[in-house]
């Protein structure tokens, strides 16, 4: 009798645990980066701005230093979604990764109100135009990254052959300013917050921007999801993106406060006073993806840079149906 009662209690306990677990909303394991993803970080720094979080989905953000590692983690089943530059998503798609771009994070866009990644050279140096980079070296943050693509686009525009006429070498953002000033590289890539800090020091001059290099506004960072997760949890993704769009709008309307919150939560290590002054990339308030720009990038990567061995179907890669209407 006593044994039967114990067995019954154990069964009830297990059943309660299973039902509690089943009631939990799906967990989104999101691989994030360390730059230009403010509205994504804000979802974790200020969960009060995301009414669906904890109810219709749970969010766990995991920091990655580089893009390939994010996709490797996805392949290993460690993350369900992530942020990545447009060209990285194109690379991943070419290799057959079952992912979909569901929203835009930020763009490289022309206009005084937006920041665009800038290539600078020594102010008193011999390089007056991109053409003068012949025989020189351009510093980029990594091989086959967006900074590499823009540098090569800029060189091609000036009639120079990357690697043959001008070397393209990887160099960390923090070292870029001194590398240009000491002549270790002829030109370097500058993003915020390094751009503002180095510009303030003086002695550097702009050569071209990312937008000038490719000739059009284009996607810088996007949000992607694994297709299996999308199919298994469409409502959770819709709820996540509804919150994401709401947070993006909040960020655009209250940028200074949002930046303070991110700094306080430890997402940004730049001194607050510098971070608040930094120019920002363009962000679409509705997180709509500029599909045409991804198509153009894909064509440029394949035809001009020979970075893609086969064409990528960008229309099939992007799925914006999960975004709020």
């Amino acid at each position: 009798m006593k044994r039967s009662a114990c067995l019954l209690l154990a069964c009830i306990s297990i059943a309660l645990q299973i039902s509690a677990h089943a009631a939990e909303p799906p967990l989104i394991r999101l691989g994030r980066g360390f730059a230009a993803e403010e509205q994504v970080w804000l979802m974790s720094a200020r969960p009060d701005l995301t009414p669906n979080q904890g109810k219709r989905y749970q969010l766990k953000q995991i920091l990655f230093q580089a893009n390939p590692q994010r996709f490797q983690a996805y392949l290993a089943g460690e993350i369900d979604a992530g942020t990545a530059p447009g060209l990285s998503v194109i690379f991943a798609s070419e290799q057959g990764l079952d992912i979909k771009v569901v929203a835009s994070v930020c763009m490289e866009a022309a206009g005084k109100e937006w920041f665009s990644t800038t290539y600078m050279t020594k102010d008193d140096g011999p390089i007056r135009s991109v053409r003068d980079l012949k025989g020189g070296t351009v510093g980029v943050v990594g091989i086959k990254t967006a900074t590499d693509l823009w540098a090569r686009a800029g060189l091609l525009n000036a009639g120079l052959q990357p690697d043959k006429d001008t070397k393209v070498v990887p160099l960390g953002f923090p070292a870029m300013g001194d590398a240009v000033r000491t002549g270790k590289v002829s030109a370097g890539t500058f993003v915020e917050p390094f751009y503002s800090a180095e510009a303030a020091k003086g002695g550097l001059r702009k050569l071209f921007t990312a937008v000038e290099a490719v000739g059009y506004d284009h996607e810088l960072l996007d949000l992607w999801f694994g297709q299996k997760f999308l199919k298994a949890n469409p409502e959770a993704v819709r709820a996540f993106l509804a919150d994401y769009v709401a947070v993006t709008k909040y960020y655009l309307a209250n940028t200074a406060q949002a930046k303070r919150d991110l700094h306080k939560a430890g997402f940004v290590r730049t001194p607050l006073e510098i971070y608040l002054k930094n120019a920002d990339w363009k962000r679409d308030p509705n997180a709509r993806v500029n599909v045409d720009s991804l198509k153009k990038l894909s064509t440029f990567m394949r035809e001009k840079l020979q970075w893609l061995e086969k064409p990528v179907n960008v229309d099939a890669l992007v799925d914006q149906s999960y975004l709020p209407r």
Binding site: N67, P68, F71, Q72, L75, A76, F91, A92, E94, Q95, G96, L97, T137, G139, G142, I143, K144, T145, D163, K167, V168, V169, P170, L171, G172, A175, D178, A179, T182, K184, V185, W307
Partner: protein
């Protein structure tokens, strides 16, 4: 049969890899099959541009190693035979051996530039330590009976150094070289992965950036084959020079 035994182990490892790759447990993009890796390796070997990248890495590695081999033996011998030099240099080498010299690479870039020189300089520094320390201990621990015998027979200091100390230290020198040579290969690849527009390390990053794991692993195989070839060449040279103490006579 002696030659086949190590091949058997390698064959087992390769078979285990292929089984795992074909099991479907891992995505082939993350865990490619040997067939795909072998295909990429074949492509590597028939493309002159890729072979050139291997040559670039090799000359950087061998350049840094050769400089360290010369300077390391000189310093190690001096430390081993002179208490004053040992007193001066031992704390420096012992105290900084554990420092990861790779952390100094950004400084090397600023001093020597982004090209080959900064990489060769770092390889030199990384290789110097094992060569100096092993040579130092070899030169210091020469059997005293040999030294006394040479002195009793009227040998000069130079003769003792040339006929007794150096031959007794050569096996240690080669031991230091065998430790340093793979270090040279590792450092060249890492520095090229950090900042380079050429070399095998650059190819590793280039392949990884576009998620071509099979191509990256083919480059890794080339690196390991180069390391193996260099080590075999060093052992061959050692056995020719140190004929009284051949490595293959150790196990009796």
């Amino acid at each position: 049969m002696r030659l086949l035994r190590p091949m058997l182990l390698i064959a087992c490892v390769l078979a285990a890899w292929e089984l795992a790759a074909r099991s479907g447990l891992w995505n082939p993009l993350l865990f490619p099959s040997l067939v795909k890796i072998a295909y990429e390796l074949g492509l590597f070997l028939i493309q002159p541009a890729r072979l050139m990248e291997a040559w670039v890495s090799l000359y950087r590695a061998l350049g840094g190693f050769a400089l360290a081999a010369l300077a390391g033996v000189l310093l190690g011998m001096l430390m081993g035979r002179s208490a004053r030099v040992a007193e001066l240099l031992d704390p420096l080498f012992s105290g900084t051996y554990a420092v990861p010299k790779l952390a100094l690479f950004p400084i090397f870039i600023f001093v020597f530039g982004i090209g080959s020189l900064s990489k060769v300089a770092l390889i030199f520094l990384e290789c110097l330590y094992p060569i100096v320390i092993v040579t130092y201990h070899g030169a210091r621990d020469v059997n005293r009976v040999f030294l006394w015998s040479a002195q009793n027979m009227g040998a000069s200091r130079a003769q003792i150094l040339r006929r007794v100390v150096l031959p007794a230290t050569v096996p240690f020198i080669f031991a230091g070289y065998r430790v340093a040579l793979p270090v040279a290969m590792i450092v060249v690849v890492i520095t090229e992965m950090i900042s380079s527009a050429d070399g095998l390390g650059y190819l590793v990053i280039y392949s990884l950036s576009s998620l071509k794991t099979d191509r990256m692993l083919a480059v890794v195989i080339v690196i390991s084959l180069l390391g193996l070839a260099l080590d075999r060449a060093l052992v061959f040279l050692r056995n020719r020079l140190v004929y009284w103490d051949r490595l293959d006579t150790y196990y009796v």
